[in-house]
Amino acid sequence: MHFDLNTVDTGNTAWVLASAALVLLMTPGLAFFYGGMVRSKNVLGMLMQNFVTIGIVGVVWVMVAYSLAFGANGFGGFAGNLHQFGLGHMSEQVAGYQGGLAQTIPPLVFMAFQLMFAIITPALITGASADRLKFGAFVVFVTVWIIAVHAPIAHWVFSPEGWLFKKGAEDFAGGTVVHANAGAAGLALAIVLGKRLGWKKDPMRPHNLPFTLLGAGLLWFGWFGFNAGSALGASNLAGVAFVNTNTATCAAMLGWLIVERFRDGHPTTLGAASGAVAGLVAITPAAGFVSPVGAVLLGLVAGAVCALAISLKYRLGYDDALDVVGVHLVGGVVGALLIGFLGTNRGNGGVGLNGLFYGGGVHLLKLQAIAVGAAVGYSFVATLIIAKALDLVMGLRLTRDEEQEGMDTVLHAETAYDFGGVAAGGFSPTQRAATGGPPVGASTGGAARTEGVQA
């Protein structure tokens, strides 16, 4: 059906456009959050994976993935149809947004806002695969993953055509679609990739915690667009989501620090940044559906649970390098399930269902469990298959020598930090012929590339 441009609300449109820009900023923020945590030889490799994700998804979404996520039901309801392929037919209403759900923003603006979510979702996975994933393999992985994993799950949960949306499962801004999804995918990818060389033996402490805190700050800032923007209007509901987002994030930071103080002896800056991100993750599905006190409770629980969950990998033996499982999977699931208890439609203008603590019984909790189970289960299995297939076809992992050398010089022929001195090297202004190998003179990198043996 044709979208009547006379129904456009300029205030709503302005807020969603601004929110889309805020959400885009989260991915560079995430790049720094992660980049600070890796070893200095891999910082450019990490930043690059996040940046190139913007490039890949920015094209794939416009061409096909938006249509798969928000088109009218196709493929038996598994995903949207291809009616909006290449952003065709954007003068029509977004499928399913009719009646009470009618949008007051142009479909193209809605598309742009959802694009930014699609960008950060695979970017989140890079934390699990850090330090050992080949660049080319990553590019192919993200392309396939956005089409085969993210778009269908976004369709199920976010599109009014989707089966989980129709059931009444609640995900305000992407606790299941973005965070639980990315966390489950990160777990699958980390399992297929295997452990980093020297894991649990060599020191792999964060090389630049100020980067990590800077990144966490940018994430926090951008997240107001993510959550309050998901009201899709400059409304009271946006205000509710904004306040809940901040409140839960603050509580989660405190929750994480309390655990650290008693478990490790010191409250740490990495803990403060991690706790804040855990809170942002957990409030995401619930942002418009809980009271401020509910947000405090949700944040405290998420911060403490995630602080404890990060040690799981040492016990279970999977190398989720930067704790995508502990923070995003666990945080996303905790937030989505807590809606079943804390969900209330008293303060948000009657949006959503009441949870267990507000007289709604266990109905909402059941719905939330189904949505989480479907998203996590599908994401994990599908990602496992994609990763395994790519590993067989093109190989996912750097060679042993390449991994030891580090991603920055091996994959990108660059150095992150030049402090001058002997290590600054020589210079020749002439361009070398494109050989595909490292520049002549980069002897260690060259040796690693040509003589590397598969680990």
Binding site: R205, S274, A307, I310
Partner: protein, 112 residues
């Protein structure tokens, strides 16, 4: 001639440098080094995982002096570098066979 080498706490470098200047030492080479003695390193915790950092940052000084001054220079450095706390470092000397001032070609004690 003797080479006096000292490994000291980084924040004591200024005190040691001033003391050596007062004594009359004209030149000094310093480098940033890492190491440990009986005090060992420290531990750090990141997201609950403990890292032991064995090598502690120190400053190393190298200064060549005349045979007669070596004993006093060691005394000066020891006094200026001491805090009485664990990890104050070490000072030692080694014999130097030859020495050349690159600019003039002077050799031996004249080149100090």
């Amino acid at each position: 001639m003797r080479l006096v080498t000292a490994v000291i706490k980084p924040f004591k470098l200024d005190d040691v440098k001033s003391a050596l200047e007062s004594f009359g030492v004209q030149g000094l080479t310093v480098s940033e080094v890492n190491g440990y003695g009986r005090q060992k390193g420290h531990t750090e915790v990141y997201r609950g995982a403990e890292y032991t950092v064995d090598f502690v940052p120190k400053v190393r000084l190298d200064v060549v002096v005349a045979d007669d001054d070596a004993h006093d220079v060691v005394e000066v450095i020891t006094k200026a570098a001491a805090t009485g706390q664990i990890g104050d470092g070490k000072v030692w000397t080694t014999a130097v066979d030859d020495l050349v001032r690159v600019r003039t070609g002077e050799r031996g004690p004249d080149a100090i």
